[in-house]
């Protein structure tokens, strides 16, 4: 990692890193409601506002539903909007998430991923974001505080890109990242501001038949998100799908540009391959667990077992082709899921990866491990045991159990 005049090292936890990235991204409106483990993001940011360090309008709302509604409204006027939430807060936003993606407003939201009730639990897993996977939001999951900082800065560029115009969610694991202090290399303000740039606005036809920027503006009246029934609704949904498809290349492009600027990269922005090139079998995961797994992969490799890791950074849009290519040579794939899809026979990531690999000529065996629900600690020792188990499965080519649970008391 290079650090030059344009960058400086700061000690921050994941939440603070997000707040700092938002501070540098020239955001016009932040509307939010506090919820653990996201609270520090908005707390820190409201400090910046109170100290006059940013010209941002801060809106204290009475619920997450309103926080999202305010962010959508702000973004619809053509300005840059940000919010943050977690768990029940994200669930309360559910309805408004569809309004955001349907209205094509590029709101950026940080989600400090956390379990959902009942029973009440404040700790980290991916139940909240996975439950919103079909809401039309781009979803990026990060491995550490550094990636959280970098991803938020990239997120504005991705979401606001004219041929994407979709809201984006950046997920950081609750407590594991949100509350853990790390060294974070940050850009200086001017460089970050220049990278994020101004928001792009596509041109649309207004009420008066003029061509005007896509924003609510009294000078060019237009109606956003009105009623569209059997005759047009379907067409608008197809447009959203196109935005998602375009996002794949935009994420790669923005990520590459950022890598050029900072010297930091996470695979190609969609997936990150670790020791995968000559791997016999592979593991797939999302979020902070990638850090643990990289260590375990090294330890297992030292034993002479060829294993590789595929970190899934972009979950929506799902990089099907990248995954197919990355896992073309392995005979066994184990997916680690930090959420359940009740009655679905495996977690969400498992379903998606398995779907992607169906068309691969060499069908690998695919198994699922659900772990870490409600913040249950899953340490390298446990993963090591699983890796040895996988080694046996790869050798015998026989899967006894499709879905297993790590660290669950029987």
């Amino acid at each position: 990692m290079k650090t030059d005049a344009k960058q400086q090292i700061m000690a921050m936890n994941g939440d603070e890193a997000v707040a700092y990235a938002v501070k540098q991204s020239n955001v016009d409106v932040v509307a939010a409601y506090p919820i653990t483990p996201q609270t520090i993001i908005v707390e820190k940011f409201s400090e910046y506002v109170a100290n006059g360090e940013v010209p941002t309008q801060f809106v204290c709302t009475e619920s997450e539903h309103s926080a999202m509604a305010a962010s959508i409204a702000a973004s619809a006027t053509g300005v840059r909007a940000f919010t943050a939430t977690a768990s029940a807060g994200l669930a309360l936003m559910h309805e408004m998430l569809f309004v955001a993606s349907g209205c094509r407003v590029p709101v950026v939201m940080a989600v400090a991923n956390r379990a959902l009730s009942a029973p009440l639990n404040i700790h980290g897993d991916h139940s909240d974001a996975m439950a919103e996977r079909d809401s039309g939001w781009i979803q990026i999951f990060v491995e550490n505080a550094q990636e959280a900082y970098d991803s938020i800065i990239q997120a504005f560029r991705i979401a606001e890109s004219k041929n994407v115009s979709l809201p984006i969610l950046v997920g950081l694991d609750g407590f594991t990242l949100s509350h853990t202090l790390e060294n974070v290399t940050t850009l200086v303000d001017d460089v970050a501001k220049e990278f994020v740039g101004e928001r792009e606005l596509p041109l649309v036809q207004t009420h008066e038949g003029k061509s005007a920027p896509f924003k609510l503006d009294p000078k060019n009246p237009m109606t956003m998100g009105p009623i569209a029934l059997q005759n047009y609704y379907f067409e608008f949904k197809r447009q959203q799908e196109e935005g998602m498809k375009n996002a794949l290349s935009v994420i790669e492009k923005v990520h590459a540009e950022y890598a050029e600027l900072t010297g930091r990269s996470y695979g190609n922005g969609l997936i990150e391959k670790y020791q995968l090139d000559d791997a016999e079998f592979a593991v797939v995961c999302v979020g902070s667990t990638a850090g643990t797994l990289k260590t375990v992969v090294d330890e297992i490799r030292a034993e002479g077992i060829k294993v590789g890791l595929l970190k899934l950074r972009t979950f929506r849009p799902f990089p099907v082709q990248e995954i197919q290519k990355a896992l073309a040579e392995v005979s066994l794939v184990a997916v680690f899921d930090k959420s359940m899809s009740f009655g679905g026979n495996g977690g969400a990531v498992f379903h998606e990866v398995r779907h992607a690999l169906y068309d691969n000529a060499a069908h690998p065996l695919i198994v699922d491990y659900v772990y870490g629900l409600g913040g249950r600690d899953t340490n390298p020792k446990e993963f090591k045991k699983i890796f040895h188990e996988l080694h046996q499965i790869a050798r015998s080519k026989r899967v006894e159990k499709l879905v297993s649970y790590i660290g669950l008391r029987e």
């Binding site: 649309v204 237009m222 109606t223 009105p226």
Partner: protein, 96 residues
């Protein structure tokens, strides 16, 4: 749907329409319509406050309450809230 309906590549995003929302009248959804008895009305404005569609308006320049039926869905909240029972919900054909 007709052949002149546009495809997804031709339409503006987010349902942005080339005409004002005033062009989409929801008033024709209603079955019952509010009818006001001017004798009983005390201009207390409860109907103005309670109308969820904002169709009942106070016109200060004329000094009277006006019901705009082009957006009234006939929910009957105004009739329910009226303290003097000056508003009744009637089928349009029975209207005089």
């Amino acid at each position: 749907m007709s052949s002149k309906d546009k495809g997804w590549k031709e339409i503006a995003p987010a349902g942005v329409t080339p005409k004002s929302s005033v062009g989409f009248m929801t008033g024709d959804w209603k079955t019952y319509m509010p009818v006001r008895d001017l004798e009983k009305c005390t201009t207390c404005m409860m109907c103005v406050l309670y109308c969820p569609e904002g169709c009942i308006r106070w016109r200060p320049e004329m000094g009277k309450i006006e019901i705009d039926l082009s957006f009234c869905k006939g929910c009957g909240i105004c009739a329910n809230e009226c303290p003097t029972k000056a508003i009744t919900m009637k089928l349009p054909e029975k209207e005089e």
